[in-house]
Each structure stands twice: as C-alpha cells, then as structure tokens.
Amino acid sequence: MTARSPEHGSPGGELLQAHDLHLSFGATPALRGASVSVRQAEILAVMGPSGSGKSTLLHCLAGILTPAAGEVFFDGARLDTLPEAPRSALRRQYFGFVFQFGQLVPELTAEENIALPLLLNGLRRAAALTQAREWFARLDLEGLERRRSGELSGGEAQRVAVGRALVTRPRVLFADEPTGALDSLTSESVMDLLTTAARGAGTTIVLVTHEARVAAYADREVLVRDGAVTDRVIV
C-alpha cells in the first residue's frame, strides 16, 4: 500500500502537529498531555532528561507508536489513526531517521546501506547505487563506499546513517540522539553535515537530544519533562 501524500496544508504552515498525547508502557506513563508543532523546514530540538518521554514523543510524531489518546497530524492529515501499512509507507517515503547507533545493516556495504531506502522504494539497483554514491562526497566519506559498518569508525558510520536518512529527500528527518555515541569533535562534524544537508533540501528536522551543544543547531527548542512539553523558543 502506498501512502497518500497529504494534499492540504495545516493552519499556520505547520508540517507536524501533536495535540494532548497520552501513552503509557504498562503502568509507567511516558506521555501525559504532550503537545508540539513543527513548521516546514524548521529544525526543532526536543530536550529533556532521561526517561522524560522525548524519544516516545518522537516515535509518536513519526507514526512508529500510536498514542493511547491525542492526535498527530502530518501536513494537515491525521497520522495516528492510519493502519500500520500506510504508516510504514509514509515513513518510507516522507520521513528519514537517524538513531544513536546500530542502525546500519552490518552485512551491507556503506553504499548499499545508503541505497537501501531507494531500493525499498522500488528503484533499480544501478540507479539506487548511483544516487547513493553522490552522498559520499557531501558527507566526506569518499573511498569508503565498499566498507561495511564494522570497518567504519563511529563518526563515519553515523555519517553513512545521515546519508541513508536523507537519500530519499524526506520531508521530515527524525534524529534520536544522533551524536549520543560520538566524541564532541565528531558530533560537531556530524551535526554540521546533517543540518547543512537538511537545510539545503528544505527538510524539517525533529532532533531529540539531551546535549545543549547539539540543540544549539536547532531553530527552536522544546523541553519535555514528565511526559509534557514546554516551549522554549531560542531563535
């Protein structure tokens, strides 16, 4: 099943909206009335202490988890009520993801990892690999095309993950602690590449982090505490 691109924009030019989200894992509440909105091409940092619910909020916005109560809109269309298959298709076609670690398929080469979402979207192998290779220069990864994840450093692997997330030119990129496993220098390099590439393509970014240095790359910052969101506009 192919996801239908939302055709009408939401009021106020907001691309993603969440209203009064509630979600618990067993007896443990993760979200308690969380609301947030993200504008087109905006970089939003979601901050908060460990266990505050920021990753859960990201998963709800991306349609990975379905909230027990509340609503999620993408480009004005209701997302949380969609069945699993169209939600998966939506994620595949309009969203990109970068996680903290372990997201590359270890058996694939770096170029195959980047080409994978294109192959999943039905592109032929040669065309997918050609597009994937274009990202190696932009991500400063030239010469590493045939390496596997075990043969890459942490920073290199994370840049490959960024390339994989952006290769389909997604409308929204969800990044969950993308530099959490990297040293500060490598973190900066990865964030530079991530935000530059995203801004160049007009991609919206939802960035979950607990590091102020990483959050500084964002246009706006919100704080999640005890499952609820507090706006903190920094620009």
Partner: protein, 773 residues
C-alpha cells in the same frame, strides 16, 4: 556462582527468560528428533529380529545359535516344520505348516501352543483378509479352523501376513520340504549365515547398509541441529558477561555462569524433548523405513542411546559454552572476537573434484568393471572411496559454494530482500551452510541410490509397459524336490476347476525335454563350427496361444521349444519381450510331449484379482510347493525386494531430512535475528514493510536449502552415472516421477517449517525491540 547463574537464567528479566525459552524449545525439538532417529534405527533392528522364528529349519540359524542353543533341546520332542511363501493380491503371506510329535514339541512365539491338526493361527491382518474375501480366493488354501491370532511377538509389523497351520505328523512327514526340528530359531536374519530362509527379513549386509545410510543421512543433520540449538543467543550472553567483568567478576566466574545457563537450558530441553519423543512415537511407527511400518513399542532407542542423549546433550552443551567463551575475549569494556573467521577459499573444492576425477577415471579410462582380473573387494573399495570423497567433498566445498552463490546474487540483486539475504549469507557462509550440510548427505545418498536402482530395475519398467500380462499370468514353478512328486499328468481337478473359473483364459504346461537335447546347426555353418542345443523346455502350441505372456509358436507348429525367463519375464531378448517372441518348433509330437515331466504350470487370466487368486488357490491345492504360484509381477517384485527396500529407505531419508534441515535453518536464522535484531527493527521503524523482512528471512533460509539440494542431486546423478558406466556399462536412466515428487514434498515441508517461524519476526522487530535493545 552456580546459584547466581541459575538466578540470572530464571529471574534475570524478560530477555533472559525469553532466551532461556528459545534455547529450551530448540533443544527440545532437537532432542525429540534425535531420539526419534535413534528409535527408528533401533526399530529396524528389532523388526528384523522378529523374523527370527521363521528361520527355523535352516542350518544358517543353527550355526549362529551355537552349542548353547543345541544343549537346550535335550528332552524336547521335535516338531515337523515347513515354511512356504504364499501370495494374495501382490502381498506375501508367510505360511508355516507344523505337526507336533509330542507335548514337549517347541512352540513358536506369539501363540500359546502348537495348533492341533485341523486348526490354525493367523496374524490379525490376515484374519481380516480371510474374513473379507471369498473363500475360493484365499480361505480355501488353509485347511482347518481359525483358533486365534498370532501375538505381536511373532509379527515383524502390525501389517504382517502370517499363518501357522497344524497337521498330523504322518501328513507333513511325507512332504520333502518339511524338516524335523527340536528348537525354534531365535537367530535374526541379519545373523543367519549360509543356509537361510529365502525372502525372510534383511540379511547382515542389508541391515548394515540400511543402518549406515539412515545414520549418516538422518543422525548427522539432527546432531547439527542440536549443536546449533545449544549455541543460540551466545553473543547476547557474552555482552552481558562483559558487564559482569566490569563489576569485578573473574573469567572463571563468568565461565561458570555461562556453563550453568547452557546446562540448565539443555537439561530442561532434554526433559521436554523426551516428552516430545514419547508423543511422536505412534507417528514414527508409521514411517516405513524398509517397506513395513513398526509396532509402536518397537520404536524405542537402545538403553545406551537413551543414556547418551540424556547425559550427553547437557554435557555437550556445557562444553560448547566453555569453548565458545574461549573464542572471545570478554573484558570489562566489552566483547571481542579473538579470531575473525576467514572466508572460505576455492581450495575447499579440491576433494570434491578429486572424488569426481577418481570415479570418472575408473568409469571411462580404466573401465574397472570390465576387467575380469580385478577383484570385487578392490572394486568396492575404489567405488566406495570415490563416493565418500564426493560426499565429504560436497560438505567441505559447501561454504565456498554458498559464498560464491550469495556473492553472485548480492552483486546483481535489484530487490532489497535479495540483497539483504545474499549479503547476510555472504557474511557468514559457514553458518548458512552448516544448517543444511546434513541435507547434502541425505539427498546425495538417496538420489544416488534411486538413480542406480532405477537403472538396474529398468527392464521391469518395460514389463509394466507390456501391461496386463505381468499381473494376470500366474506361474507355478515345480522345482527341486517338488518336481519328483509332480509326474507327467496334470491332476484332473486343476483343469476342471480352472475351466470353471471366470476370468481364466488358458493354461500352459511347460515340460522338460529329454536329455540329450537335439543339436541345432545354424544354416551355412561350416562343419565343426559351433553347435547350439535346443531349449530345455517344450510346450504345446494349442496351450501357448491361450497364454500370450509366454509368446507364440511358428505358424503350423504343434509344439515349441521354449526358454522362458520369469524373473525378468518381459526382459528384452534381442529387443523383444517374451510375449513378442516366436519360439522355434520342437521335433516332439503332442502325444510325446504329454509323457514328459512337468516343469512349470502357467495360467493366463484377465488380470482380475478374483481370477488370479482363485487360480492360485486351485494350483496351491494341487501343488503345495515351496513358493505358491506367483504372477510375473510378483516374481519380479520378489527379486527386486531388497532394491525396493533401499529405494523406500532413500525416499524416507529424503522426506525426513529435508524438514529437519528446515527446522535447523529456522532455528539458526531466528537465533541470528534475536542476536542482531536492532538493525532489523530500526529498518522496520524507518518504514521497511514487514513483508520485505519476511522475504529476507525466507530467502536466507531457502537459498542454501535449494542450492544445496540442486548441487547434491546433480553430483549424486553424476556419481551414479559413473558407477553404472564402470560396473554395468549402462547409462543412468531418469528416475520415475515419484522421486521428483519426494524431493518436492521434502522441500515443501522444509519451506512450511521455515514459514512457521516468520510470524516471530513481527515481535522480534517491533518498536520495543529497538527501544529496549
């Protein structure tokens, strides 16, 4: 430390418990299959041992019984004993005629006492046949009253057709085939030496072959599976051990915990495996390893096997856990492999090529089979060595071939599922191939056997083409001591009753030529050239025209010299079947013919079961010979009984080993998935459809299975061709469609097993997996 290990395994959280359950389930399935295989092998031996009492009267069994057996017969009054083979609708009936000479005459197993004259015991299946068929077709062959059924102690299989008929000593003692015996044989056909009952059970060589093939083809895959099951989730455990090292645990303490965890899972798995086996026993009993199903109570492993499995699997699991830890360095900061497994190289294919070269050399260059000076032991060693080299070569070359195939697919894959599956296989071809290496042996052995048997049996195929003649023509050969009593005249009752039997088309009496036989000098042959002698048998042309299976006379002839060959009844003779042969005329007149001794009585029928069985009953009453009259189909089936048993074994081996390989593949893939679920679950979070991931797992399992099966089949046919070329100068014939159906059914069953594990993927790659990993 042991207590801590136990607590970590059982109460170490959801993941520990899931891991424990996964290993327990896998070990239980493996142990269940292992016990089933061992029990099946033991059942073959036990079934064969149940034929022992039918060896009574044959000197081969006496020789094996030795002095102890003879000593116990002191004071025992002998019993008159005669074993005969009877047939009904293509199935063999074992008939034992007995006559006690006194109250201490020995009694065979399965009955309380010898039947008195006019009484008989029959096996339950034979009783059912007696009750459901017209008396003229079966019941009339057995004089007297049924007084009970033969117990299981006398029956090799629940389907066995056996009968023990009581007579007066005075009646049976006149029979030239009856023997006076003081003991009932307890020697299984496999231990009988020399003079043994024909067509009873399986001899020593046959049993060794059956057990070796079944052991190699079934036990090996099952052991591989058990090994894989005990190693499940090893790397996840190793990561946890690194955390323990961080808080001060020593390497020895970590090793102890690992051993406790593995052993605990193995012990629980073994217990459940035993229960699984007990539940499966009735189903295993239905598997006809050599053609007949087993009694459920025979399906039990030997006591030694039971102990070895019960104790050996947990010990092996503990040792495997220790060895696995030696291959990794667990430091407080994490786990590192000491040795990165090197990818397999092309050198692995050398033994395989050497095996093919050896077989090819002896088939096409040395022509060992045609060399009369070559002794058969050397021939056997040469061929067995060559076949074993090809088999082991296939196992050794397997990982390299898997690597080659997966690399080929990965570099051309346009679909993500094919790319992922091929790259995962390429990453560890040894692991991918290990799960199917047992199939290599099973399919190779089975296919090789089927190829050779099909070619050797090829004339029989022609006999089926000839059709109704083979199943409708009854042959009663009055050979050996029986002929002395036959005389020259057919009993009047035979012709009268056969004439009155619907469906009987004619009767031909084949007689022996007087010696010396007339000489035939080919026309134009020089004086002193080769002289042929006329065929030994003669037949009336008037009779021959009503039995078309035997051929025809030349026009105008009244008698013909005939050389029938019932064994290969329709075997090609100068590219013609016997039915298509025109026999040369004999110099004998019809009246002189009637004065010659009868050699064989042949009855033609319309092939209906009623006509065949009624005619057989008539002939049986007139000529109670060692073997009852048989149709040509039955004679051929008898002669190829062992070959058919091997073919049956080959089918069973293929059909059972493929699903076992499917289970093995599934367990290893699920294990691999559980260990490396994060990349898969993150792919799913990013929108990869579950169907794509299912295809990855399906392809990852199916590709080695199908590639291995194809390579095994091709090499087995090649080996069979080289064997047949060298030994018989024949070329391999295409197996019957049944073989391909068996392969397809086995692969289908394996795919079903693999498919049954796919639903696990949804759970293993759900959002929780990525969050909690």
């Amino acid at each position: 430390m042991i207590r801590l290990g136990l607590r970590l395994s059982i109460a170490g959280g959801r993941e520990s418990l899931s891991r424990l359950i996964l290993i327990v389930v896998a070990v239980a399935i493996g142990v269940g299959l292992l016990l089933a295989t061992l029990a099946g092998l033991n059942a073959v031996t036990k079934q064969n041992a149940r034929y022992a009492w039918l060896e009574t009267g044959y000197r081969g069994s006496d020789a094996s019984a030795g002095a102890q057996g003879r000593a116990t017969t002191a004071g025992v009054e002998p019993v008159w004993w005669r074993l005969r083979a009877d047939y009904f609708q293509g199935r063999q009936i074992g008939r034992v005629d007995v006559a006690a000479t006194g109250p201490t005459s020995p009694t065979p197993p399965g009955i309380p006492a010898l039947p008195a004259p006019g009484q008989f015991y029959a096996s339950p299946k034979l009783v059912a046949l007696l009750e459901t068929n017209p008396a003229g077709e079966l019941r009339d062959r057995y004089p007297g009253t049924l007084i009970g059924t033969l117990g299981a102690a006398a029956l090799p299989s629940p389907d066995s057709l056996l009968i023990v008929i009581g007579h007066r000593p005075a009646d049976l003692s006149h029979d030239p085939r009856a023997r006076l015996e003081r003991r009932i044989s307890t020697t299984a056909p496999s231990r009988c030496n020399g003079d043994c009952a024909p067509g009873v059970g399986t001899n020593a060589n046959g049993l060794v072959l059956i057990l070796s093939v079944a052991t190699a083809a079934l036990l090996f895959p099952v052991l591989i599976f058990v090994g894989a099951a005990t190693r499940l989730s090893a790397s996840r455990r190793e990561q946890r051990f690194a955390a323990m090292r961080l808080v001060g645990a020593t390497s020895a303490q970590v090793a102890t915990i690992a051993t406790v965890e593995s052993t605990l899972a193995a012990v629980i798995g073994v217990l459940i495996g035993f229960m699984l086996f007990l539940a499966m026993r009735p189903l295993i009993a239905l598997i006809p390893f050599t053609g007949e199903r087993f009694f459920t109570h025979d399906v039990v492993p030997s006591p030694v096997s039971l102990v070895v499995v019960a104790v050996g699997v947990p010990i092996a699991s503990a040792v495997a856990a220790r060895l696995a830890l030696r291959r990794v360095a667990i430091s407080p900061l994490g786990v590192a492999r000491r040795v990165t497994p090197a990818p397999p190289t092309a050198r692995r294919v050398v033994p395989l090529l050497a095996g093919i070269a050896e077989l090819g050399y002896f088939a096409y260059i040395d022509n060992i089979g045609a060399n009369t000076h070559t002794n058969t032991t050397l021939e056997a060693a040469v061929f067995l060595g060559g076949v074993l080299l090809v088999m082991s070569g296939l196992v050794i070359a397997g990982p390299w071939l898997t690597l080659l195939a997966s690399r080929l697919v990965a570099n051309r894959a346009n679909r993500p599922a094919a790319l992922l599956a091929a790259r995962r296989l390429e990453d560890n071809p040894q692991a991918g191939f290990r799960a199917v290496s047992g199939v290599v042996l099973a399919i190779f052995v089975g296919t090789c056997a089927v190829g050779i048997i099909t070619t050797i049996n090829a004339p029989a195929v022609r006999s089926h083409e000839v059709g109704a003649y083979a199943t409708g023509t009854l042959v009663d050969v009055l050979a050996g001591p029986d002929r002395l009593r036959t005389g020259t005249a057919l009993p009047a009752s035979v012709t009268t009753e056969l004439d009155a039997t619907p469906g009987v088309t004619g009767l031909a009496v084949i007689r022996d030529q007087p010696q010396p036989r007339p000489e035939i000098r080919p026309s134009g042959a020089p004086p002193g050239g080769h002289v042929f002698h006329a065929f030994q048998q003669v037949v009336s042309c008037a009779q021959l025209q009503h039995v078309p299976a035997l051929g025809r006379c030349r026009a105008g002839a009244t008698t013909a010299a005939i050389d029938p060959d019932y064994g290969g009844g329709f075997e090609l003779r100068n590219h013609r079947t016997m039915a298509e042969t025109t026999w040369p005329p004999s110099r004998l007149t019809s009246s002189r013919l009637d004065a010659l001794p009868i050699d064989t009585v042949v009855v033609g029928t319309n092939s209906s079961s009623a006509a065949v069985e009624h005619a057989r009953t008539v002939l049986d009453a007139a000529y109670p010979t060692a073997f009852a009259a048989e149709t040509i189909s039955e004679i051929h089936a008898d002669q190829s009984r062992l070959l058919r048993a091997y073919q049956q074994l080959a089918n069973v081996v293929i059909l059972t080993s493929l699903p076992i390989a499917g289970v093995s593949l599934t367990v290893s893939i699920v294990g691999g998935l559980v260990e490396r679920k994060r990349p898969f679950s993150l792919l799913r979070l990013a929108g990869t459809p579950l169907a794509t991931l299912r295809r990855v797992i399906g392809l990852e399992a199916a590709a080695p299975l199908f590639i291995t099966a194809a390579a095994s089949i091709a090499l087995a046919f090649l080996s069979a061709q080289l064997f047949l070329r060298a030994q018989l100068g024949e070329s391999l014939r295409r197996p019957a469609p049944g073989y391909f159906l068996v392969i397809a059914a086995g692969l289908g069953a394996a795919m079903l097993v693999i498919a049954s594990a796919l639903p696990l993927l949804r759970r293993a790659t759900g959002p929780d997996a990525a969050r909690n990993d």
